[in-house]
């Protein structure tokens, strides 16, 4: 098998493993589906072009998320705005639904989005990397270039806040 075929196989494996989580991380950070798709595409194209340069295969996830994060902040810098979260998803949630005590997963999703919106950006980012991307504390600390202890503390705070607000409604 030639080098190009090997690269394509390796790329497909990495792509299938990370595509969904990465897409949601970007989407939740920007609240723009089309931009999220473009960024996802750019990240994977960059990955394909730099595959051979990434010697440490365990660092692929960190490389991909760091590149995505740079693209997200680059986009935000161009837009000169802070990340926003979808409003439209909340429109169909009625207060009575909460009182009924039975919240569908779709509605819970909207609730999570609205709660994420109130979180400080640094807590929100750690929460998204953990819950959506399912990365380890070490990987998150490498992506954000912060201590692992800080990752834990931000994540625990974000999760606690979210659970406190949502648990009353579940």
């Amino acid at each position: 098998m030639d080098k190009l075929s090997n690269n394509l196989i390796e790329f497909t494996l990495v792509y299938n493993r990370h595509k969904s989580a990465l897409y949601y991380y970007i989407y939740k950070m920007l609240n723009e589906k089309m931009v999220a798709e473009d960024i996802l595409q750019n990240v994977f194209l960059k990955f394909f072009q730099n595959m051979e340069a990434i010697k440490n295969k365990d660092a692929i996830a960190a490389w991909i998320y760091r590149t995505a994060r740079n693209e997200i902040y680059e986009h935000l810098r161009k837009k000169r705005s802070r990340p926003e979260f979808p409003e439209e998803d909340l429109s169909y949630i009625d207060a009575n639904d909460y009182l009924d005590g039975l919240i569908e997963r779709k509605e819970l999703k909207a609730l999570i989005i609205s709660e994420l919106k109130t979180m400080p950006p640094e807590q929100r980012e750690v929460y998204l990397l953990k819950e959506y991307a399912d990365l380890s504390y070490r990987e998150i600390s490498a992506i954000l270039e912060i201590e692992e202890e800080l990752v834990k503390s931000r994540l625990f705070k974000a999760r606690k806040k979210l659970i406190e607000r949502i648990s009353k409604l579940i």
């Binding site: 190009l4 394909f48 504390y137 834990k152 625990f156 949502i166 648990s167």
Partner: protein, 159 residues
């Protein structure tokens, strides 16, 4: 230990980052504390909802990404693709440098041989001049015209 610490341990357990040795402490606490049980339940429920959402991935992105990858692969497979230009230029420069080195080495050897021959000739000529000078009589030259002998060597020869 208070619930706050157990909450943190529960989160680490949920994330698969808690030491095995600490796991029994959580289970014991969960059996005793209803509030923490609720916390754990909510955390798991939220995570599973998120994981279900993550499974829903737009297929059109796959087509877009692999379409681009195919284009890049095709470009890369061409010999004179823009990506290969720096490599080709480097190879060409390398070959030129090797040819120039061989040429310079060859010229240097030639010059060395010529120089050696020239030195040999000079040395031979020098020896010849020395030999010629030694066969001639001694000549003395005085500074003033009034002096009796200007060229002593000639007189000696005539005498």
């Amino acid at each position: 230990m208070n619930c706050e610490l157990y909450n943190e341990m529960m989160q680490q357990f949920h994330d698969g980052e808690l030491e095995k040795a600490k796991e029994p402490f959580i289970f014991t606490h969960l059996a005793e504390c209803e509030e923490c049980r609720e916390f754990f339940k909510s955390m798991s429920f939220i995570s599973s909802s998120i994981q279900m959402e993550v499974k829903d991935f737009p297929q059109r992105i796959d087509e877009k990404v692999f379409g681009k990858i195919r284009t890049i692969s095709d470009k890369n497979s061409l010999l004179f693709s823009p990506r290969k230009i720096p490599t080709l230029v480097s190879c060409a420069l390398g070959i030129i440098i090797i040819i120039m080195s061989v040429f310079i080495f060859d010229s240097e050897t030639e010059y060395k041989q010529e120089m050696h021959l020239a030195l040999k000739q000079i040395r031979y000529q020098n020896e010849k001049i020395n030999l010629l000078m030694n066969t001639m009589p001694e000549v003395r030259v005085r500074s003033k015209l009034s002096d009796a002998t200007i060229i002593q060597g000639n007189r000696q020869v005539t005498q």
